[in-house]
């Protein structure tokens, strides 16, 4: 609404746009380290699951796909990193990259089937693949340890310097830094023409085909990205806990990560992170309070969010902001400048 807004340099614009975010990303680990060092483990858990939920957001929140089998990629990433570490490849960063590669490959392979179908069928096909991979891992006891889990991981210090300690300090900072890097990449993706294309596909795939988008190819690309991020999240979880459980591949985890994302708010960059934090912390607090009936509380939180905060925690924040500042009634998304007049009077 301010056509007279002066064209700013890229640098200044970037800082103005991202300054608050950067401060937040620095403040959070600092706060954990200073005030809550005994919560390193919980924070690590939140960070890894947050990345996992973020990866699902690319599919569900942005591209408008459905998945109840996303744990398949998380688990394959975890097992890849785990098996590498068991068999002498303990270097964590290369482990992450290899896990990402393997998960991405699995994403590519399964995408052909998953993208052939829509709606409920898509939900069920992803669920079916997830269950098949779970069963395969359960059967391959010689490789995965079956339901006893994969034991005997030996993970080298990060960068050869930081050993994983009992208190989870290294694990936390390692996970947090990887999360931050992935988040930057994800932000790039979301802000890119490709990201905009995904939103277009979510809003109206028919119209996307009519403007000449090869829709299947774009969705496949998104699916592979999501698989890669999920694989990294799984690998992080494996390396920091030095153990891989069969449950990392389970339907339960697939459902949980969807719940986290919806709690936080799908289609927001921070939806997955906020949702993972809300879910994990709520579960931790409630189950410490009452180990038997905490599920009632978690279920209650979910029901209340749907009833009173449609669109998740971030959804309600956004609509509150819009109500308070009607001027901001624009798409809060992203990088396409809101006003076509940003380039001043030249138009």
């Amino acid at each position: 609404m301010t056509p007279s807004c002066p064209p700013s340099t890229a640098e200044a614009g970037w800082l103005r746009r991202r300054g608050g975010e950067i401060a937040l990303w620095l403040a959070v680990p600092l706060a954990v380290a200073l005030f809550l060092p005994e919560y390193y483990l919980l924070a690590t858990h939140v960070a890894a699951l947050g990345l996992f939920a973020l990866s699902l957001d690319l599919l569900v929140g942005y591209a408008g796909l459905l998945s109840l089998g996303h744990a398949m990629f998380f688990g394959i990433g975890a097992y890849t990193a785990g098996l590498l570490a068991v068999h002498g490849w303990g270097e964590p960063i290369s482990g992450l990259l290899i896990a990402a590669l393997v998960a991405g490959l699995l994403g590519l392979i399964t995408s052909f089937a998953v993208l052939r179908v829509q709606h409920l069928a898509q939900l069920m096909v992803t669920l079916g693949f997830g269950l098949l991979v779970f069963e395969a891992a359960n059967r391959a006891r010689w490789l995965t340890g079956g339901d006893d889990g994969l034991q005997g991981m030996v993970v080298s210090p990060v960068l050869g310097m930081f050993e994983f300690d009992l208190f989870g300090q290294t694990a936390f900072f390692y996970t947090f830094v990887v999360l931050a890097l992935c988040f930057i990449v994800a932000t790039r993706i979301i802000d890119s023409p490709f990201g905009l294309t995904l939103e277009g596909l979510r809003e109206n795939p028919k119209r996307m085909a009519a403007i000449g988008t090869p829709t299947a190819a774009r969705l496949r690309q998104a699916y592979v990205f999501a698989a890669i991020f999920a694989g990294i999240a799984g690998a992080l979880m494996a390396q920091t806990s030095q153990f891989v459980a069969l449950e990392t591949l389970s339907f339960g985890l697939s459902a949980e990560v969807l719940i986290m994302l919806l709690l936080g708010g799908a289609g927001h960059r921070y939806g997955g992170l906020v949702g993972a934090a809300v879910f994990v912390i709520a579960r931790d607090l409630l189950s410490d309070l009452n180990p038997q009936y905490w599920q009632f509380g978690v279920g209650g939180v979910m029901v209340l969010v749907v009833l009173f905060a449609p669109g998740g925690v971030l959804g309600i924040l956004r609509s509150l902001r819009q109500r308070l500042m009607p001027v901001a009634r624009t798409s809060t998304t992203k990088a396409v400048p809101a006003t076509p007049a940003t380039k001043g009077g030249t138009a």
């Binding site: 359960n138 009992l166 208190f167 153990f243």
Partner: protein, 394 residues
């Protein structure tokens, strides 16, 4: 350089938390319980909790003169990731002196490296995979191993003229362990396993498997399923298809007739012969007192199962060890004291093997009968001082 610094910092911190070796007398004894308190297996945690509470109630809430504080962590079923995190949190945040509980084997395996690193004595109250005690020198077990309960069944069957059997197990790690231990013991005594099947864990209907057995007509069937919903479903299909009438004899481990579930399983369990280390109907004075106090504390709705008795014995083992160390709770001393510890348990005499830190106990052969209108496992034969066969073999 950095690596060393990090390590030193970690060690310093660890020292701080573990340095309370010489605890002041008024410091409480903190015990972390990692178990399943919610979800499909919530009964496990409930039984643990009852066993622990009963022991504490009988001892004024104290062990070795110290007030006991219990910190419960819910894994909601098999959840090694969660268990591992909980173990770390219990040690770092809650500063516990002992870790116990541990119903699922994967959960116990997952925490092994943690308790080793932190030197926290850990008493396994159920998880029954054989190698758990070998995975850390700080783990002792007061429950049983799958092999320990399965192999005696094979021996008893052989002794009673059964030379041929068909094995049915649930398709998971313990099922495989039970299968292998049973088959080994059975073959060693000249028996022959004529067929076997591993059923999926989420399988609700056993009729196809039972039909197949009926058509193959083996002399007998041995099965192993985890406590809970699978045994009743299998037994129902067994009765419905009339396999008893077909003359096929049925044997199982005591999980099939877990006291927690037996009454709900119903008459289909009648006559089933099982091998196990505990029946709440064990006819000793100590057990009668245990059951009486248990009912008094928690009501008759809940029978004490083998989970409750292991939890009770777990607390007794911790108390016994601390008695030997004269209250010293340093990990190495406690573990030393646990080795060779002998206890009189409601289930009978038990001992923690000095070499393996695993339990040595009597395994009973029982039959399901109706006593005063209730289904109970009536013990009628036994194998004394049974060690874990998997470790014996090594």
């Amino acid at each position: 350089m950095m690596k060393k610094a990090g390590l030193l910092a970690a060690l310093a911190l660890a020292g701080a938390s573990l340095a309370n070796v010489a605890v002041a007398a008024d410091d409480p004894l903190r015990i972390g319980v990692i178990a399943t308190f919610s979800g499909p297996y919530a009964d496990y945690g409930r039984q643990f909790d009852a066993g622990i509470q009963l022991y504490l109630k009988e001892h004024d809430g104290k062990i070795a003169g110290k007030k006991v504080e219990i910190v419960k962590k819910d894994t909601a079923g098999p959840g090694p990731d969660a268990a591992k995190r909980f173990a770390q949190e219990l040690i770092v945040r809650d500063k516990v002196n002992f870790i116990t509980g541990l119903d699922f084997s994967p959960n116990a395996y997952a925490i092994a490296p943690i308790v080793t690193q932190a030197k926290i004595p850990t008493v396994v109250m159920n998880a029954s995979s054989s190698a758990i005690t070998t995975s850390s020198p700080y783990i002792a077990r007061v429950s049983f191993t799958v092999q320990q309960d399965s192999a005696p069944m094979a021996q008893w069957m052989l002794k009673n003229g059964i030379k041929e059997t068909y094995v049915v197990v649930a398709d998971y790690a313990s099922g495989t362990d039970a299968h292998n231990a049973f088959e080994k013991a059975f073959a060693a005594g000249g028996g022959k396993v004529v067929g076997s099947v591993r059923t999926p864990m989420n399988n609700p209907d056993f009729s196809a498997y039972v039909q197949r057995i009926k058509d193959e007509k083996p002399q007998s069937v041995f099965f192993f399923f985890p406590s809970g919903v699978m045994p009743p479903a299998f037994l129902k299909a067994w009765k419905e298809r009339g396999l008893d009438e077909a003359g096929i004899k049925l044997f199982a481990t005591g999980e099939a007739t877990d006291d927690s579930y037996l009454q709900a399983t119903g008459d289909v369990a009648l006559g089933l012969i099982t091998s196990h280390h505990y029946s709440y109907a064990h006819p000793s004075e100590l057990n009668k007192k245990f059951v009486k106090n248990f009912y008094a504390a928690f009501g008759k709705e809940m029978r004490p199962s083998y989970f409750a008795v292991s939890a009770y014995d777990g607390m007794a083992a911790i108390a016994g060890a601390l008695e030997k160390t004269k209250g010293d709770i340093s990990g190495d001393k406690v573990m030393e004291a646990l080795k060779g510890l002998k206890l009189e348990s409601p289930r009978g005499p038990i001992e923690i093997d000095a070499a393996t830190r695993d339990i040595v106990q009597t395994v009973y052969i029982r039959k399901v009968e109706k006593v005063d209108g209730e289904l109970v496992n009536v013990e009628f034969d036994k194998f004394e001082r049974v060690k874990d066969p998997a470790k014996e073999a090594q």
